[in-house]
Amino acid sequence: MAILETRELNKWFGGLHVTSGVNFSLKQGEIHCLIGPNGAGKSTLFRLILGEHLPTSGQIVYEGVDITKAKSFERIRKGISVKFQVPGIFKALSVRQNLQIALQHHRRPEDLDEEIDRLLEFLKLTEARAQLAGNLSHGQKQWLEIGMAVGLKPRLLLLDEPTAGMTPDETAATGEMVQALNRDGVTVLAVEHDMAFVRQIAHKVTVLHFGKIFAQGTIDEIVADERVAAIYLGDAHA
Protein backbone atom coordinates (compact mmCIF):
# COMPACT_ATOMS: atom_id res chain seq x y z
CA MET A 1 0.00 0.00 0.00
CA ALA A 2 1.26 3.48 -0.85
CA ILE A 3 1.76 5.81 2.12
CA LEU A 4 2.47 8.75 -0.19
CA GLU A 5 1.57 9.45 -3.79
CA THR A 6 2.06 12.41 -6.06
CA ARG A 7 -0.21 12.61 -9.09
CA GLU A 8 0.80 14.63 -12.17
CA LEU A 9 2.67 17.03 -9.88
CA ASN A 10 3.95 20.19 -11.58
CA LYS A 11 5.82 23.17 -10.23
CA TRP A 12 6.81 26.19 -12.27
CA PHE A 13 9.10 28.94 -10.96
CA GLY A 14 8.45 31.69 -13.53
CA GLY A 15 9.52 30.09 -16.82
CA LEU A 16 11.32 27.21 -15.16
CA HIS A 17 9.53 23.85 -15.03
CA VAL A 18 11.17 22.39 -11.93
CA THR A 19 8.80 19.51 -11.25
CA SER A 20 7.32 18.07 -14.39
CA GLY A 21 4.34 15.72 -14.21
CA VAL A 22 5.77 13.60 -11.41
CA ASN A 23 3.77 10.48 -10.56
CA PHE A 24 5.60 9.08 -7.59
CA SER A 25 4.49 6.38 -5.22
CA LEU A 26 6.10 5.48 -1.91
CA LYS A 27 5.26 2.09 -0.40
CA GLN A 28 4.57 1.82 3.29
CA GLY A 29 7.56 0.42 5.19
CA GLU A 30 10.22 0.97 2.53
CA ILE A 31 13.39 3.03 2.51
CA HIS A 32 13.34 4.91 -0.76
CA CYS A 33 16.19 7.10 -1.99
CA LEU A 34 15.86 9.97 -4.45
CA ILE A 35 18.98 10.64 -6.47
CA GLY A 36 19.81 12.77 -9.48
CA PRO A 37 22.28 15.37 -10.71
CA ASN A 38 22.26 18.90 -9.28
CA GLY A 39 19.16 20.78 -10.37
CA ALA A 40 17.17 17.60 -10.99
CA GLY A 41 14.34 18.86 -8.76
CA LYS A 42 14.91 16.62 -5.73
CA SER A 43 14.75 19.41 -3.13
CA THR A 44 11.73 20.99 -4.83
CA LEU A 45 9.87 17.67 -4.71
CA PHE A 46 10.72 17.52 -0.99
CA ARG A 47 9.45 21.02 -0.40
CA LEU A 48 6.24 20.24 -2.27
CA ILE A 49 5.68 17.17 -0.10
CA LEU A 50 6.34 19.29 3.02
CA GLY A 51 4.08 22.14 1.93
CA GLU A 52 6.87 24.72 1.83
CA HIS A 53 5.96 25.21 -1.83
CA LEU A 54 2.50 24.71 -3.27
CA PRO A 55 2.37 22.88 -6.62
CA THR A 56 1.26 24.71 -9.75
CA SER A 57 -0.91 21.69 -10.52
CA GLY A 58 -1.32 18.08 -9.44
CA GLN A 59 -2.10 16.31 -6.23
CA ILE A 60 -0.28 14.98 -3.17
CA VAL A 61 -2.00 12.15 -1.30
CA TYR A 62 -0.78 10.94 2.11
CA GLU A 63 -2.39 7.86 3.69
CA GLY A 64 -5.29 8.23 1.28
CA VAL A 65 -5.93 11.88 2.20
CA ASP A 66 -5.36 14.77 -0.21
CA ILE A 67 -2.85 17.07 1.52
CA THR A 68 -2.03 19.22 -1.52
CA LYS A 69 -3.20 22.41 0.17
CA ALA A 70 -2.49 21.54 3.80
CA LYS A 71 -0.15 23.82 5.78
CA SER A 72 3.28 22.45 6.69
CA PHE A 73 2.50 22.09 10.40
CA GLU A 74 -0.72 20.23 9.54
CA ARG A 75 1.26 17.72 7.46
CA ILE A 76 3.67 17.23 10.37
CA ARG A 77 0.74 16.60 12.71
CA LYS A 78 -0.53 13.93 10.31
CA GLY A 79 2.68 11.94 10.82
CA ILE A 80 5.23 13.32 8.33
CA SER A 81 8.58 14.46 9.72
CA VAL A 82 11.67 15.96 8.13
CA LYS A 83 15.39 16.37 8.61
CA PHE A 84 16.85 19.21 6.56
CA GLN A 85 20.12 19.24 4.65
CA VAL A 86 21.60 22.07 6.76
CA PRO A 87 21.03 21.01 10.38
CA GLY A 88 17.81 22.70 11.46
CA ILE A 89 18.39 22.80 15.18
CA PHE A 90 17.98 25.44 17.89
CA LYS A 91 21.64 26.41 18.26
CA ALA A 92 21.37 28.64 21.34
CA LEU A 93 19.46 26.00 23.32
CA SER A 94 20.83 22.90 25.01
CA VAL A 95 20.71 19.50 23.31
CA ARG A 96 18.18 18.33 25.87
CA GLN A 97 15.95 21.36 25.35
CA ASN A 98 16.04 20.81 21.58
CA LEU A 99 14.61 17.34 22.11
CA GLN A 100 12.16 18.54 24.73
CA ILE A 101 10.68 21.06 22.28
CA ALA A 102 10.31 18.32 19.68
CA LEU A 103 8.74 15.83 22.07
CA GLN A 104 6.62 17.91 24.48
CA HIS A 105 3.65 18.13 22.13
CA HIS A 106 3.43 14.38 21.69
CA ARG A 107 4.16 12.97 25.14
CA ARG A 108 2.56 13.04 28.55
CA PRO A 109 4.56 15.29 30.92
CA GLU A 110 5.39 12.36 33.23
CA ASP A 111 6.90 10.35 30.34
CA LEU A 112 8.87 13.21 28.85
CA ASP A 113 12.16 12.95 30.79
CA GLU A 114 12.42 9.20 30.31
CA GLU A 115 11.72 9.47 26.57
CA ILE A 116 14.33 12.21 26.16
CA ASP A 117 16.93 10.07 27.97
CA ARG A 118 16.13 7.11 25.72
CA LEU A 119 16.42 9.25 22.61
CA LEU A 120 19.71 10.79 23.80
CA GLU A 121 21.14 7.30 24.15
CA PHE A 122 19.89 6.24 20.70
CA LEU A 123 21.55 9.35 19.22
CA LYS A 124 24.79 8.81 21.18
CA LEU A 125 24.33 12.27 22.69
CA THR A 126 23.89 11.41 26.38
CA GLU A 127 27.25 12.96 27.30
CA ALA A 128 26.49 16.12 25.34
CA ARG A 129 22.95 16.66 26.67
CA ALA A 130 23.75 19.87 28.58
CA GLN A 131 25.83 21.42 25.77
CA LEU A 132 24.47 24.15 23.54
CA ALA A 133 23.38 22.51 20.30
CA GLY A 134 25.42 25.05 18.32
CA ASN A 135 28.63 23.68 19.90
CA LEU A 136 28.13 20.09 18.71
CA SER A 137 30.21 18.59 15.91
CA HIS A 138 28.59 18.61 12.48
CA GLY A 139 27.73 14.91 12.64
CA GLN A 140 26.20 15.28 16.11
CA LYS A 141 24.09 18.19 14.88
CA GLN A 142 22.78 15.98 12.09
CA TRP A 143 21.95 13.25 14.60
CA LEU A 144 20.26 15.70 16.93
CA GLU A 145 18.03 16.83 14.10
CA ILE A 146 17.25 13.23 13.17
CA GLY A 147 16.34 12.75 16.86
CA MET A 148 14.01 15.76 16.76
CA ALA A 149 12.37 14.44 13.60
CA VAL A 150 12.03 10.95 15.07
CA GLY A 151 10.75 12.31 18.39
CA LEU A 152 7.49 13.21 16.64
CA LYS A 153 6.87 9.46 16.16
CA PRO A 154 6.41 9.91 12.40
CA ARG A 155 5.06 7.30 10.04
CA LEU A 156 6.91 8.94 7.15
CA LEU A 157 10.39 10.39 7.63
CA LEU A 158 11.89 12.67 4.98
CA LEU A 159 15.67 13.00 5.04
CA ASP A 160 17.38 15.64 2.90
CA GLU A 161 21.01 14.58 2.47
CA PRO A 162 21.26 13.27 6.04
CA THR A 163 24.96 12.41 5.75
CA ALA A 164 26.18 15.65 4.12
CA GLY A 165 29.51 16.61 5.67
CA MET A 166 29.79 13.45 7.79
CA THR A 167 32.87 11.27 8.25
CA PRO A 168 32.61 7.67 6.87
CA ASP A 169 32.11 6.33 10.41
CA GLU A 170 29.35 8.85 11.13
CA THR A 171 27.72 8.01 7.78
CA ALA A 172 27.70 4.30 8.60
CA ALA A 173 26.27 4.98 12.07
CA THR A 174 23.56 7.16 10.50
CA GLY A 175 22.70 4.32 8.13
CA GLU A 176 22.25 2.00 11.11
CA MET A 177 19.99 4.56 12.80
CA VAL A 178 17.82 4.86 9.70
CA GLN A 179 17.56 1.08 9.38
CA ALA A 180 16.65 0.74 13.08
CA LEU A 181 13.86 3.31 12.62
CA ASN A 182 12.64 1.50 9.53
CA ARG A 183 12.49 -1.79 11.46
CA ASP A 184 10.19 0.03 13.91
CA GLY A 185 7.80 0.73 11.04
CA VAL A 186 8.87 4.18 9.82
CA THR A 187 8.77 4.68 6.05
CA VAL A 188 11.79 6.68 4.86
CA LEU A 189 12.25 8.91 1.83
CA ALA A 190 15.80 10.25 1.53
CA VAL A 191 17.54 12.56 -0.92
CA GLU A 192 21.15 11.44 -1.01
CA HIS A 193 24.33 11.86 -3.06
CA ASP A 194 26.52 9.36 -1.22
CA MET A 195 26.04 6.14 -3.22
CA ALA A 196 27.65 3.98 -0.52
CA PHE A 197 25.01 5.23 1.90
CA VAL A 198 22.25 4.62 -0.66
CA ARG A 199 23.54 1.08 -1.12
CA GLN A 200 23.55 0.60 2.67
CA ILE A 201 19.94 1.64 3.27
CA ALA A 202 17.81 1.82 0.10
CA HIS A 203 15.17 -0.76 -0.79
CA LYS A 204 14.32 1.25 -3.87
CA VAL A 205 15.87 4.14 -5.76
CA THR A 206 14.27 6.81 -7.95
CA VAL A 207 16.39 8.91 -10.30
CA LEU A 208 15.11 12.41 -11.05
CA HIS A 209 16.34 14.37 -14.06
CA PHE A 210 15.07 17.73 -15.31
CA GLY A 211 12.17 17.50 -12.87
CA LYS A 212 10.97 14.14 -14.21
CA ILE A 213 11.26 10.57 -13.00
CA PHE A 214 14.07 9.18 -15.14
CA ALA A 215 14.50 5.67 -13.72
CA GLN A 216 13.35 3.52 -10.83
CA GLY A 217 14.56 0.24 -9.37
CA THR A 218 16.87 -1.39 -6.86
CA ILE A 219 20.32 0.09 -6.37
CA ASP A 220 21.88 -2.66 -8.49
CA GLU A 221 19.45 -2.03 -11.35
CA ILE A 222 20.13 1.72 -11.17
CA VAL A 223 23.91 1.28 -11.10
CA ALA A 224 23.72 -1.08 -14.07
CA ASP A 225 21.59 1.37 -16.07
CA GLU A 226 23.84 3.06 -18.61
CA ARG A 227 21.40 5.90 -19.19
CA VAL A 228 21.69 6.87 -15.50
CA ALA A 229 25.48 6.85 -15.68
CA ALA A 230 25.20 9.05 -18.76
CA ILE A 231 23.07 11.75 -17.11
CA TYR A 232 25.54 11.97 -14.25
CA LEU A 233 28.26 12.51 -16.86
CA GLY A 234 26.05 15.03 -18.66
CA ASP A 235 25.53 13.10 -21.89
CA ALA A 236 21.83 12.38 -21.89
CA HIS A 237 18.71 14.47 -21.87
CA ALA A 238 15.36 13.22 -20.71
Binding site: L50, K71, S72, F73, I76, R77, S81, V82, F84, G88, I89, F90, K91, A92, L93, S94, Q97, Q100, I101, A102, Q104, H105, E145, M148, L152
Partner: protein, 358 residues
Protein backbone atom coordinates in the same frame (compact mmCIF):
# COMPACT_ATOMS: atom_id res chain seq x y z
CA UNK B 1 11.32 9.59 46.63
CA UNK B 2 10.48 12.69 48.67
CA UNK B 3 7.49 14.72 47.50
CA UNK B 4 8.55 18.34 46.93
CA UNK B 5 6.81 20.83 49.21
CA UNK B 6 4.46 23.46 47.71
CA UNK B 7 7.08 26.22 47.94
CA UNK B 8 9.68 24.30 45.96
CA UNK B 9 6.99 23.31 43.45
CA UNK B 10 6.07 26.99 43.03
CA UNK B 11 9.73 27.96 42.65
CA UNK B 12 10.21 25.17 40.09
CA UNK B 13 7.56 26.86 37.92
CA UNK B 14 9.49 30.14 38.11
CA UNK B 15 12.82 28.66 37.06
CA UNK B 16 13.99 27.13 33.85
CA UNK B 17 16.37 27.44 30.94
CA UNK B 18 14.70 30.63 29.73
CA UNK B 19 15.50 32.78 32.79
CA UNK B 20 18.67 33.76 34.59
CA UNK B 21 18.75 33.34 38.35
CA UNK B 22 17.78 30.22 40.25
CA UNK B 23 18.08 28.55 43.60
CA UNK B 24 18.07 29.90 47.14
CA UNK B 25 20.67 32.69 46.63
CA UNK B 26 18.67 34.24 43.80
CA UNK B 27 15.29 34.07 45.51
CA UNK B 28 16.76 35.28 48.81
CA UNK B 29 18.20 38.30 46.96
CA UNK B 30 14.84 38.78 45.25
CA UNK B 31 13.06 38.80 48.64
CA UNK B 32 15.59 41.33 49.98
CA UNK B 33 15.12 43.63 46.97
CA UNK B 34 11.31 43.47 47.30
CA UNK B 35 11.60 44.13 51.06
CA UNK B 36 13.82 47.17 50.43
CA UNK B 37 11.39 48.39 47.75
CA UNK B 38 8.52 48.02 50.25
CA UNK B 39 10.43 49.91 52.94
CA UNK B 40 11.59 52.66 50.57
CA UNK B 41 8.64 55.08 51.08
CA UNK B 42 9.35 55.03 54.84
CA UNK B 43 12.64 56.86 54.41
CA UNK B 44 12.22 58.70 51.09
CA UNK B 45 10.35 61.92 50.41
CA UNK B 46 7.15 62.11 48.40
CA UNK B 47 8.82 63.41 45.25
CA UNK B 48 11.28 60.54 45.07
CA UNK B 49 8.55 57.98 45.72
CA UNK B 50 6.44 59.49 42.93
CA UNK B 51 9.45 59.53 40.67
CA UNK B 52 9.98 55.83 41.27
CA UNK B 53 6.36 55.19 40.36
CA UNK B 54 7.15 56.98 37.10
CA UNK B 55 10.06 54.57 36.50
CA UNK B 56 7.96 51.53 37.43
CA UNK B 57 5.27 52.63 34.96
CA UNK B 58 7.59 52.04 32.02
CA UNK B 59 8.89 48.65 33.10
CA UNK B 60 5.71 46.84 32.02
CA UNK B 61 6.22 48.02 28.46
CA UNK B 62 9.85 46.86 28.62
CA UNK B 63 8.89 43.43 30.00
CA UNK B 64 6.33 43.10 27.20
CA UNK B 65 8.97 43.98 24.61
CA UNK B 66 11.36 41.48 26.16
CA UNK B 67 8.69 38.82 25.65
CA UNK B 68 7.97 39.79 22.03
CA UNK B 69 11.52 40.58 20.91
CA UNK B 70 13.90 38.90 23.36
CA UNK B 71 12.01 35.62 23.67
CA UNK B 72 9.94 35.57 20.48
CA UNK B 73 12.51 37.14 18.15
CA UNK B 74 10.06 39.68 16.68
CA UNK B 75 11.29 43.28 16.82
CA UNK B 76 8.19 45.39 17.41
CA UNK B 77 8.40 49.17 17.28
CA UNK B 78 4.73 49.27 18.20
CA UNK B 79 4.90 49.23 22.00
CA UNK B 80 4.23 52.96 22.15
CA UNK B 81 1.18 52.58 19.88
CA UNK B 82 -0.44 50.22 22.40
CA UNK B 83 0.76 52.47 25.22
CA UNK B 84 -1.08 55.35 23.54
CA UNK B 85 -4.23 53.38 22.71
CA UNK B 86 -4.57 52.24 26.32
CA UNK B 87 -3.67 55.66 27.73
CA UNK B 88 -6.27 57.49 25.62
CA UNK B 89 -8.84 54.74 26.27
CA UNK B 90 -8.32 55.16 30.00
CA UNK B 91 -8.82 58.89 29.64
CA UNK B 92 -12.01 58.55 27.61
CA UNK B 93 -13.55 55.83 29.79
CA UNK B 94 -12.64 57.29 33.17
CA UNK B 95 -13.68 60.85 32.26
CA UNK B 96 -17.05 59.55 31.10
CA UNK B 97 -17.69 57.08 33.92
CA UNK B 98 -16.10 58.99 36.80
CA UNK B 99 -14.12 57.51 39.66
CA UNK B 100 -16.86 56.22 41.97
CA UNK B 101 -17.55 52.53 42.67
CA UNK B 102 -14.11 51.43 41.49
CA UNK B 103 -14.99 52.36 37.89
CA UNK B 104 -11.41 53.54 37.29
CA UNK B 105 -10.32 49.94 37.81
CA UNK B 106 -12.86 48.93 35.20
CA UNK B 107 -11.34 51.62 32.97
CA UNK B 108 -7.90 50.09 33.58
CA UNK B 109 -9.01 46.60 32.51
CA UNK B 110 -11.05 47.89 29.56
CA UNK B 111 -8.15 50.03 28.31
CA UNK B 112 -5.64 47.19 28.54
CA UNK B 113 -8.20 45.01 26.74
CA UNK B 114 -8.54 47.70 24.04
CA UNK B 115 -4.76 47.67 23.51
CA UNK B 116 -4.79 43.85 23.40
CA UNK B 117 -7.65 43.85 20.89
CA UNK B 118 -5.86 46.34 18.67
CA UNK B 119 -2.72 44.19 18.92
CA UNK B 120 -4.72 41.08 18.02
CA UNK B 121 -6.13 42.79 14.94
CA UNK B 122 -2.80 44.20 13.76
CA UNK B 123 -0.92 41.01 14.74
CA UNK B 124 -3.37 38.83 12.83
CA UNK B 125 -2.55 40.58 9.56
CA UNK B 126 1.18 40.64 10.34
CA UNK B 127 1.70 37.05 11.43
CA UNK B 128 -0.91 35.30 9.30
CA UNK B 129 0.37 37.41 6.39
CA UNK B 130 3.83 35.98 7.21
CA UNK B 131 5.38 39.43 7.64
CA UNK B 132 8.55 39.16 9.70
CA UNK B 133 11.96 40.67 10.38
CA UNK B 134 12.63 44.23 9.39
CA UNK B 135 9.27 44.59 7.62
CA UNK B 136 7.40 43.89 10.83
CA UNK B 137 9.48 46.60 12.52
CA UNK B 138 8.63 49.05 9.73
CA UNK B 139 4.89 48.31 9.85
CA UNK B 140 4.68 48.60 13.64
CA UNK B 141 6.67 51.85 13.62
CA UNK B 142 4.40 53.23 10.91
CA UNK B 143 1.30 52.36 12.93
CA UNK B 144 2.75 54.22 15.93
CA UNK B 145 3.58 57.32 13.89
CA UNK B 146 0.19 57.31 12.14
CA UNK B 147 -1.54 57.20 15.52
CA UNK B 148 0.62 60.08 16.74
CA UNK B 149 -0.25 62.18 13.65
CA UNK B 150 -3.91 61.30 13.98
CA UNK B 151 -4.14 62.24 17.66
CA UNK B 152 -2.17 65.44 17.03
CA UNK B 153 -4.92 66.77 14.70
CA UNK B 154 -7.77 66.24 17.14
CA UNK B 155 -7.61 69.75 18.59
CA UNK B 156 -11.04 70.91 17.43
CA UNK B 157 -14.11 70.80 19.69
CA UNK B 158 -15.66 68.17 17.38
CA UNK B 159 -13.06 65.66 18.57
CA UNK B 160 -14.71 64.47 21.73
CA UNK B 161 -16.01 61.18 23.04
CA UNK B 162 -18.85 61.97 25.42
CA UNK B 163 -17.38 64.28 28.02
CA UNK B 164 -13.79 63.63 26.99
CA UNK B 165 -12.04 66.14 24.67
CA UNK B 166 -9.05 64.69 22.82
CA UNK B 167 -7.33 68.11 22.60
CA UNK B 168 -4.92 67.46 19.74
CA UNK B 169 -1.23 68.06 20.27
CA UNK B 170 -1.77 69.49 23.78
CA UNK B 171 -3.04 66.13 24.90
CA UNK B 172 -5.87 64.94 27.03
CA UNK B 173 -5.96 65.80 30.70
CA UNK B 174 -8.09 65.83 33.84
CA UNK B 175 -8.88 62.15 33.89
CA UNK B 176 -9.29 60.78 37.42
CA UNK B 177 -6.55 58.79 39.14
CA UNK B 178 -7.01 55.11 39.81
CA UNK B 179 -9.31 54.66 42.79
CA UNK B 180 -9.78 51.49 44.82
CA UNK B 181 -13.16 51.12 46.57
CA UNK B 182 -12.59 50.37 50.23
CA UNK B 183 -14.57 50.13 53.46
CA UNK B 184 -14.99 53.56 54.94
CA UNK B 185 -14.08 55.48 51.80
CA UNK B 186 -12.34 54.96 48.46
CA UNK B 187 -8.55 54.88 48.32
CA UNK B 188 -7.39 57.31 45.67
CA UNK B 189 -4.10 56.13 44.21
CA UNK B 190 -2.88 59.65 43.72
CA UNK B 191 -0.91 60.33 46.86
CA UNK B 192 2.36 58.81 45.85
CA UNK B 193 2.72 56.14 48.51
CA UNK B 194 -0.50 54.26 47.68
CA UNK B 195 0.18 54.36 43.97
CA UNK B 196 3.76 53.26 44.66
CA UNK B 197 2.62 50.09 46.45
CA UNK B 198 -0.07 49.38 43.86
CA UNK B 199 2.43 49.68 40.98
CA UNK B 200 5.11 47.73 42.85
CA UNK B 201 2.66 44.89 43.52
CA UNK B 202 1.64 44.85 39.84
CA UNK B 203 5.28 44.79 38.83
CA UNK B 204 6.16 41.85 41.09
CA UNK B 205 3.10 39.89 39.92
CA UNK B 206 3.85 40.67 36.23
CA UNK B 207 7.51 39.70 36.58
CA UNK B 208 6.71 36.39 38.28
CA UNK B 209 3.83 35.67 35.90
CA UNK B 210 6.04 36.24 32.87
CA UNK B 211 8.76 34.03 34.39
CA UNK B 212 6.21 31.22 34.64
CA UNK B 213 5.07 31.84 31.07
CA UNK B 214 8.53 31.81 29.47
CA UNK B 215 9.59 28.70 31.40
CA UNK B 216 6.44 26.81 30.42
CA UNK B 217 5.94 24.64 27.34
CA UNK B 218 4.65 27.77 25.61
CA UNK B 219 7.95 29.52 26.39
CA UNK B 220 9.90 26.57 24.99
CA UNK B 221 8.11 26.92 21.67
CA UNK B 222 8.56 30.68 21.75
CA UNK B 223 12.37 30.49 21.96
CA UNK B 224 12.33 27.71 19.36
CA UNK B 225 10.57 30.09 16.96
CA UNK B 226 13.17 32.78 17.74
CA UNK B 227 16.02 30.35 17.02
CA UNK B 228 14.65 28.66 13.91
CA UNK B 229 11.05 29.34 12.83
CA UNK B 230 11.19 26.81 9.97
CA UNK B 231 12.26 24.00 12.30
CA UNK B 232 9.63 25.00 14.87
CA UNK B 233 6.94 24.76 12.21
CA UNK B 234 8.33 21.44 11.02
CA UNK B 235 7.86 20.11 14.55
CA UNK B 236 4.14 20.63 14.05
CA UNK B 237 3.69 23.99 15.77
CA UNK B 238 1.48 26.61 14.16
CA UNK B 239 4.04 29.36 14.75
CA UNK B 240 1.65 32.10 13.62
CA UNK B 241 -0.61 31.44 16.60
CA UNK B 242 2.32 31.44 19.06
CA UNK B 243 3.65 34.68 17.60
CA UNK B 244 0.23 36.30 17.69
CA UNK B 245 -0.48 35.31 21.30
CA UNK B 246 2.96 36.58 22.35
CA UNK B 247 2.42 39.85 20.49
CA UNK B 248 -0.95 40.36 22.18
CA UNK B 249 0.40 39.64 25.68
CA UNK B 250 3.47 41.85 25.18
CA UNK B 251 1.35 44.66 23.73
CA UNK B 252 -1.14 44.38 26.60
CA UNK B 253 1.78 45.03 28.96
CA UNK B 254 2.57 48.18 26.94
CA UNK B 255 -1.11 49.08 27.38
CA UNK B 256 -0.78 48.60 31.13
CA UNK B 257 2.14 51.04 31.11
CA UNK B 258 -0.03 53.50 29.18
CA UNK B 259 -2.87 53.32 31.72
CA UNK B 260 -0.55 53.63 34.73
CA UNK B 261 1.30 56.56 33.17
CA UNK B 262 -1.95 58.36 32.27
CA UNK B 263 -3.40 57.78 35.72
CA UNK B 264 -0.14 58.81 37.40
CA UNK B 265 0.19 62.16 35.63
CA UNK B 266 -3.52 62.65 34.76
CA UNK B 267 -2.61 63.41 31.17
CA UNK B 268 -1.53 61.81 27.90
CA UNK B 269 -0.28 63.48 24.74
CA UNK B 270 0.35 62.32 21.16
CA UNK B 271 4.07 62.86 21.83
CA UNK B 272 3.98 59.64 23.86
CA UNK B 273 3.71 57.85 20.50
CA UNK B 274 6.32 59.81 18.53
CA UNK B 275 9.56 58.57 17.00
CA UNK B 276 11.64 59.15 20.15
CA UNK B 277 9.10 57.47 22.38
CA UNK B 278 8.97 54.49 20.02
CA UNK B 279 12.75 54.09 20.00
CA UNK B 280 13.40 54.39 23.75
CA UNK B 281 11.89 51.02 24.80
CA UNK B 282 14.19 49.35 22.26
CA UNK B 283 17.18 51.02 23.97
CA UNK B 284 16.11 50.05 27.51
CA UNK B 285 15.52 46.44 26.55
CA UNK B 286 18.60 46.06 24.36
CA UNK B 287 20.93 47.64 26.91
CA UNK B 288 19.63 45.49 29.75
CA UNK B 289 19.51 42.21 27.86
CA UNK B 290 16.36 41.51 25.93
CA UNK B 291 16.48 37.72 26.19
CA UNK B 292 16.01 37.72 29.95
CA UNK B 293 13.24 39.26 32.04
CA UNK B 294 15.46 40.09 35.02
CA UNK B 295 18.15 41.86 33.01
CA UNK B 296 15.45 43.69 31.06
CA UNK B 297 13.90 44.91 34.31
CA UNK B 298 17.19 46.01 35.88
CA UNK B 299 18.43 47.54 32.62
CA UNK B 300 15.22 49.51 32.12
CA UNK B 301 15.31 50.99 35.64
CA UNK B 302 19.02 51.86 35.38
CA UNK B 303 18.70 53.46 31.92
CA UNK B 304 15.55 55.37 32.92
CA UNK B 305 17.25 56.77 36.03
CA UNK B 306 20.36 57.64 34.01
CA UNK B 307 18.27 59.23 31.27
CA UNK B 308 16.38 61.38 33.75
CA UNK B 309 19.61 62.52 35.45
CA UNK B 310 21.09 63.41 32.07
CA UNK B 311 17.93 65.24 31.01
CA UNK B 312 18.08 67.39 34.15
CA UNK B 313 21.74 68.26 33.61
CA UNK B 314 22.25 68.04 29.89
CA UNK B 315 18.83 68.49 28.26
CA UNK B 316 18.73 67.08 24.72
CA UNK B 317 22.18 65.51 25.01
CA UNK B 318 20.50 62.72 26.95
CA UNK B 319 19.05 61.37 23.70
CA UNK B 320 22.46 61.37 22.05
CA UNK B 321 23.81 59.42 25.02
CA UNK B 322 20.98 56.89 24.59
CA UNK B 323 22.01 56.43 20.95
CA UNK B 324 25.66 55.96 21.94
CA UNK B 325 24.60 53.47 24.62
CA UNK B 326 22.69 51.43 22.04
CA UNK B 327 25.65 51.40 19.65
CA UNK B 328 28.03 50.39 22.46
CA UNK B 329 25.70 47.58 23.48
CA UNK B 330 25.57 46.24 19.95
CA UNK B 331 29.38 46.40 19.66
CA UNK B 332 30.46 45.25 23.14
CA UNK B 333 27.66 43.09 24.51
CA UNK B 334 25.06 42.24 21.86
CA UNK B 335 23.04 40.27 24.40
CA UNK B 336 22.88 43.35 26.69
CA UNK B 337 25.20 45.12 29.11
CA UNK B 338 23.46 43.93 32.27
CA UNK B 339 23.20 40.42 30.81
CA UNK B 340 26.94 40.49 30.00
CA UNK B 341 27.77 41.77 33.49
CA UNK B 342 25.60 39.05 35.08
CA UNK B 343 27.25 36.32 33.01
CA UNK B 344 30.70 37.69 33.89
CA UNK B 345 29.91 37.75 37.63
CA UNK B 346 28.40 34.26 37.48
CA UNK B 347 31.59 32.99 35.80
CA UNK B 348 33.83 34.62 38.46
CA UNK B 349 31.66 33.20 41.24
CA UNK B 350 31.65 29.74 39.66
CA UNK B 351 35.42 29.94 39.15
CA UNK B 352 35.97 30.90 42.81
CA UNK B 353 33.80 28.14 44.19
CA UNK B 354 35.45 25.55 41.93
CA UNK B 355 38.90 26.85 42.91
CA UNK B 356 37.91 26.69 46.59
CA UNK B 357 36.96 23.03 46.26
CA UNK B 358 40.27 22.02 44.66
Amino acid sequence: MLRPNPLSRAIALLEGPQTQGRGTPFWASFAVVVAIACAYPLFADGYDVGNNVYFFNWTFMALGLSLIWGYGGTLSFGQTAFFGVAGYSYGVISINLGDAYGLTLFALFASVAAAALFAALLGYFLFFGRISGVFLGIVTLSVTLVLERFMAQTAGPEWRVGLARLNGYNGMGSMPSLTVPWFGGDIVLFPDVQLYYFTLALLVVSYLGLRILVNSRFGNVLVAIRENPQRAEMLGYDIRVYQLVTFVIGSAFAGLSGVLYTSWGNYITPASMNMTAAALPIVWVAVGGRSDLTTTLIGTLVVLAGFQALTIHGSQYALVVMGVLLVLTVLIAPRGLIFGLGTFLAKCFHHKTTAGRE
